[in-house]
Structures are given as C-alpha cells and as structure tokens.
Symmetry: C2
Subunit: 342 residues, 2 copies
C-alpha cells in the first residue's frame, strides 16, 4: 500500500520495478560508481525511467550507508559581521560544487561547544572554525570530526590563514608614510588570534620606526560599530598633547564606529583624523568618505578552508601541508590623508 502512495518521493525501487531490473542495478547505474559495469542498453533504460519518474536520490539514505552526511558546519563568532559572512559564502560556493551542504552558525547565542554538539548530532562530516579560539575548543567533542581552522594556529588541525601580521604592518606603514607620528589602535577585546596578529603587526612596524604608543591610545572594545564609536570618543576626549592624528582599527566594523564618532563630533576625516580599517567588507565603500582599509580575502579564505576540509573528508589518508598565509593589501581610499592636511 505505501508503495502506491502517489505523493511519496520516487525511490530506486520504483525505478527498478518500472524498468524491469533489480533495485541494485538501478543503484549501480545511478550512483555514478565508476566500477559499475552495466550493459549499455540497461543503463539507458534505467536512466530513461529515472528521468521519466523524476527520481531524485535521497542523500540522507546514501549518507547513512556511506557513513557520511555530505554536510559541513561553519562556526564563526558573528554572522552579522559581513567579514564572517563572506567566509561562509566562500565556503558555501566550494561546498555546493562538491555536493556538500553548509550549516552556518555563530556563537552569539550559544557556546562553541554546544554548537559543535548540535552539528555532530547532524552527523556533519567536518567543520570550519573561524575566529572562535581553537584553544578554547573542547578537544574530545571534536573527535571523529574533521576540522579546519581559519586564522588560528593549531598543531591539532590544518588551517588556512590570511597574513594578519602583514595587515597590521601595512596599516602602520601607510600611516607612517603619510607623516603621522601620533597613532592609536582600536581592537576587539577578544582573544581571537587573527585580530591579535593584526595588532602585533601594527606594533612591530611602529617599533621598527622607533615609535611607541602610550596606553590610553590602545583601546580594546567590543568588536562592533558601537565599540569603535566608544573607543574613538575616548580618544577624542584625550588632552590635545595625547590625542592621535591617525588610528588603525582591527576590523572595518570598528573603523566604521570610529569614523562615525569623528563625523558626529565635527572632527574632519581625514583632515584631523586618519582612519584605517581592516577586512575591506562591502560597508567600507558605503561610508563617506570611503574607508581606507586592508583587504583580507574573506571569501577566498572560506573557499580554501572548504576545499581543505572536503579533501580531508574524501581522502582519509590525505595529509595537508601548511600553506602560506593569503596575501593582504592596502586599499587606500578616503579616510586617510597626510598629517595636518585638510
């Protein structure tokens, strides 16, 4: 009786019956198994009937027997940050091509551990983890799961990274080159490794130029527009002698907040304050003036992470060798100018 339910999806059994062959033969034909030696005539008839009936393979059933779900998870701290969304988008494109679904999620309303548990319950074949702090992850809950980390160092899992050190350095050199000597830094008050490296690169370049940065000019805030706003307000409230003429923000969101603080306070940008962001999200070109920033190839990061992950999943023996960090570059736009310029 259930066999004849007209609304039930078409299965290999239905195709088999209609084509007058066994279900196994249908599977052989349709699963694209290269070692399947099926007579051309049989193959053709099976394919015809499958087409005619509108057969669609049940990926879940296939997954059950193959021990795969053909799904991967992507865990980021905040999906509303366009940077992380780009990472997800990049991963999704590659995954889709390889027949994998992507389950994106962020850890705003949950802990990484809890989120990973949910992903494991769904039998995801692997996860991409970005900006969550590999060190804080529960090792045991990640066993029997392939992992690729983005912008995180780890001996435990392969990863793909952007050249965050260079990002900070490029920002510093750009500002230095414009004649700025009183610099400030605004970064997120989180222990995300990639962000830390941006900071470190910035300070290394400053030191190399013989400059230091007094502590009031190093602001750690929430990694958001609001955080940037607050940090810049604090900088603007500094006594004139202490006040910076340029600031590097570790993310574009922070930079957007900083810019807004300046504009609202009537501080000309880049006239009296130069601002460099980092990420080059779409928002950077929406702001007025357009944001000078360091371009991090977020989509490429996501795409490579997905390739790395899927490679591992498909070939268990494959050992990834660490690659070079992806290059970043300065994109000079409207928020930076020569010191004292107008």
């Amino acid at each position: 009786m259930p066999r004849s339910d007209p609304s039930r999806p078409v299965t290999t059994h239905d195709v088999a019956r209609r084509a007058g062959v066994s279900q196994a033969t249908v599977s052989l034909v349709l699963s694209g198994n290269p070692r399947a030696r099926v007579a051309a005539a049989t193959r053709e008839r099976v394919m015809e009937v499958a087409e005619e009936l509108g057969y669609r393979p049940n990926i879940l059933a296939r997954g059950l027997v193959r021990g795969r779900s053909y799904a991967i998870g992507v865990v980021v701290p905040d999906l509303t940050n366009p940077f992380f969304l780009d990472v997800v988008t990049g991963a999704q494109r590659v995954a889709a091509e390889a027949g994998y679904a992507v389950l994106p999620g962020d850890t705003r309303e949950t802990t990484p551990a809890r989120h990973l548990d949910a992903l494991r319950a769904r039998q995801v074949d692997g996860v991409i983890i970005d900006g969550v702090g590999a060190a804080t992850l529960p090792h045991d809950s990640l066993s029997d799961l392939k992992v690729v980390v983005v912008d995180e160092p780890s001996e435990r899992w392969p990863g793909i990274a952007s050249d965050a050190l260079a990002a900070g350095r490029l920002a510093a050199e750009h500002l230095l080159g414009l004649g700025h000597r009183h610099l400030a830094f605004i970064g997120p008050a989180t222990d995300v490794h990639g962000f830390r490296m941006r900071e470190r690169g910035f300070f290394q370049a400053l030191r190399a130029a013989g400059l230091a940065l007094s502590s009031p000019r190093l602001r750690r805030v929430a990694p958001s527009v609001a955080g940037g706003l607050q940090a810049m307000r604090a900088l603007l409230a500094l006594p004139a002698a202490e006040r910076p003429t340029a600031v590097f923000c570790a993310t574009d969101l922070l930079a957007a907040g900083a810019l807004k603080a300046c504009l609202t306070a009537g501080v000309a940008v880049p006239g009296r304050m130069s601002i460099v962001g980092c990420d080059d999200v779409e928002l950077a070109r929406v702001l007025t003036p357009e944001l000078t920033t360091i371009r991090i190839p977020a989509r490429e990061l996501g795409a490579r992470a997905a390739r790395l992950l899927i490679k591992q999943i498909d070939d268990d023996a494959w050992v990834p060798r660490p690659g070079k960090p992806l290059p970043v570059k300065l994109v000079a736009r409207g928020t930076t100018g020569a010191v004292g310029g107008e």
Copy 2:
C-alpha cells in the same frame, strides 16, 4: 570487528549491549516517545549508560525512518543584504529550538528552481521563501514540500508578511509632514512583491495629499548601494525645477547609496535633501547622519515563518489561518528634516 572500532560513534546498539537490554528498549527510552512504558529502573540504567558512553542520536537515521530530515531551507535573493540575513537569523533561532537545521541560500549565483532542487535532494522538510517571487516558482518542483512565503501573496502557500503598504505610507506622511512637496522614489527594478507594496503605499499617500510624481523622479535600479548611488546622481542632475527635496528609498541599501551620492556631491542631508529608507538594518545607524527609515521586523518575520513552517511539518492536518501583517514603524533619525531647512 567494526563494533569495536573505538572511533566509531556510539549507537543505540552499543548502549543496549552495555546496559544489558535490547536495542529497541534503548530507543524507546532515548527517543523521548511519550507512549513508551519502560520500567523506571531500566530507563535509569539506559540513560546512565548512554551518558557514560557519550551516546548521541544520529539525526539522519532517525530522519530516514520517520521520513523527515529535520532540516528546512531558506531561500532569499541576496544574503549579503542584511535585511534578508536577519530573516534567516530569526528563522534559525526558532528552528534550532525545535531541533531543525537551517540551510540558507540565495539566488545570486543560481536560479530559485535550481536551488530548490538542491534542497529537495537533501530531503528538507520545507522551505521559507522570501523575496523571490512566488509566482515565478516552479509549482511541480515544490510538491511534497511544505512552503511558507514571506512578504508574498499566495493562495497556494501560507505566508507571513510585514505591512509594506503602511511602510510606504509612513514614509510619505513623514516627508509630507516636514513640508516636502517635491518628492522622489527609488526602488529596485525587480518584481518582488513586498517592494512593490512599499512603492504603492508611498504613492497612495501622495495621491491622498493631491500630489503626483513626474516620471524622472521615479527611479528603478539594482537593489543595492550602487543602485541607490546611481539613482540619486540622476536625481541631482535634474534641472532645478524638477529636482526633489526628499526621496523615499524602498530599501536601506538603496538609501545608503543615495546618501552617499548626496554627501559626495556636497548636497547637505537633510539640509537640501531628505532621505527615508526602509528596513532599518544595522547599517542605518552606522551611517552619518543616521538614516531615517521604516522599521520592518525582519527577525520576527523569519521567526514566525519558521514557526508556521515547522507547525505544518509536525502536524500535517494543521491549516494555517492568514494572520495580520506585522506592523512597521517610522524611525526618525538624521537624514530627514523640514524642507529648506539647514
């Protein structure tokens, strides 16, 4: 031998063997079936062993037997538009609570039909469709799939909508109330119903005030920041007599582009040009001046759509009754002011 593979996930069989009961009993205890009458002692021992072994149910296997995947798809035109991302986020929260995974995707690089095919291959139990044009959907490819449409009229599927007509009307009334009489409209050149209604509400209110709008002041462009930029440039290039003093943009992205065009051209906002957006995405408060806009409850829209969908999935007989559109409201911020004001 495979039974003893230490890296293999723990199954109900493992728990059963260890607890000295049958696999079915384990399932009875662990599946939370209310009609399961199991002795308290047995239940307790099973739960203990399950905990001890770190048992995690395989959702895919459960789905196979129950004919469910516990996954839903969300299809939107563009995930980089924060409005649609909010819809997805709202849906995701509700779905997660109900044990459903969300497969988000947009139709930038593919057609809705193709995307829906991919979702069906994954056996999703239903889809939420927003801004894709219900009329353009291939009816047949949606059979045996529960569907909820957002901001689209449809006799075929239940839906949840925002009060788009009111959105347009509120924008017009706000501008009219500020004394503006030379208005313009910038909308996306797509046939998304929700956007059309925003437009219609706007024009209805104008007509009610005895105003009309010459065709050069009605601009249809790509639904993006770039589109808004281009449209506003065109408006600014109009002869003085034709030039509007205020404009309503059907989305915040368009408004952001319009604002940028003004700022770049040295046209004071709101001094010489007032701008009203629609959506109230986060970006609205990042811009300087902050964007006056109509708040559409995107997350709530997504959340309700998910609830509606999951209700349908879980209770096949349930027939949704059409609800009222969600209310929208004007959020007056910095981009609107009295006509001729400064």
